[in-house]
Amino acid sequence: MLENKLENVVSQMRKGSLEFAILLLIQSKKQMYTSEIITELQKIELIVVEGTLYPLLNRLLKEELLSYSWAESTSGPPRKYYQITNLGTQLIQKLIPAWQSYTNSINSLIPKL
């Protein structure tokens, strides 16, 4: 029961911040291809299976927060490289204070030890 609840709440928190995390990640690296994004997100335990990421990337493309370009790779097929758009940068700038005030609110409720 407790384990289930914990899992559920944590997964909801993750879901809520995943898009923000993707935007931040791509911005910090200037451009990334899909497998890189997956590796990074898995490293920080934000996603488990890759299948979750593709719809998100496509949604962000459609909303013009991301753009992509093809680049040849030395091994195998050309890679789709994602970059952040102007709109995406603007959104990040607005999301950062929103995120900080949100985490501050929650932190303020956590009793100090």
Binding site: G16, E19, T34, V49, E50, G51, P55, S75, G76, P77
Partner: protein, 216 residues
């Protein structure tokens, strides 16, 4: 073991014949899933195909030439089964888990068994209209709708019965069965009733003189 050539994201790859159905089936399931959750399922599948191709090219670099069942399994584990993806996928804001709207017999608006009242609540129409319709349709379908009424009175549960009962499983089983029965019954009655209504309205359609088309 035979080898098939398939096209993946515009490239030809070799795959063992026993591994192909697994891959094909997996892609089909993914597609069906994304078509439900996203407008651009095609693009998503294309990305996934590219990813599979990329993975397979890494294998090629290691001296492998043909994709095997093990490779397909590895890919499925990486990208995730539809269930795993569903578990992790962010729900669109404000969406709730879909709930099946149930038909009950009404307890507040009931003359005989509350069927008319219950149907009216379900379809959100005036119960008076429902009752007039039931009587009218009973007349022109030579009693068939009345039979449907009785069957509904037996099959439809009362709301309080469902809400108060502790035994969820038996309720679910009951609902499942009653719904199955309901669908079959509705199809049969609906079909016959429709024929009879049509016959009543346009007797010529059935080459009958006075609209006395009668199944019984």
């Amino acid at each position: 073991m035979k080898i098939t050539k398939i096209s993946l994201a515009g490239n030809i790859i070799q795959i063992r014949e026993d591994a192909y159905p697994m891959l094909e089936n997996y892609l089909k399931q993914l597609k069906a899933h994304y078509q439900k959750t996203d407008d651009n399922a095609e693009d998503i599948i294309e990305d996934i195909e590219s990813r599979i191709l990329e993975f397979f090219n890494e294998q090629l670099a290691n001296g492998k030439e043909v994709m095997t069942i093990t490779d397909v399994k590895t890919i499925i584990a990486k990208i995730g089964t539809v269930d795993a993806i569903k578990d992790e996928e962010p729900k669109p804001l404000g969406s709730k888990a879909p709930r099946v709207k149930r038909i009950f017999r009404s307890e507040t608006d009931s003359i005989l068994f509350g069927v008319a009242g219950g149907l009216s609540e379900y379809f959100q129409i005036d119960p008076v209209i429902t009752r007039i319709l039931i009587v009218f349709l009973t007349l022109i379908t030579s009693g068939l709708v009345l039979i449907a009424y009785v069957v509904l009175a037996i099959l439809l549960p009362k709301k309080s019965l469902v809400k108060n009962s502790q035994d969820q499983d038996s309720i679910e089983a009951y609902n499942k069965n009653s719904r199955k029965g309901l669908i079959i019954l509705a199809l049969i009655c609906g079909g016959i009733a429709l024929l009879q209504i049509l016959a009543f309205l346009i007797p010529q359609l059935f080459w009958l003189q006075h609209g006395n088309f009668n199944i019984f």
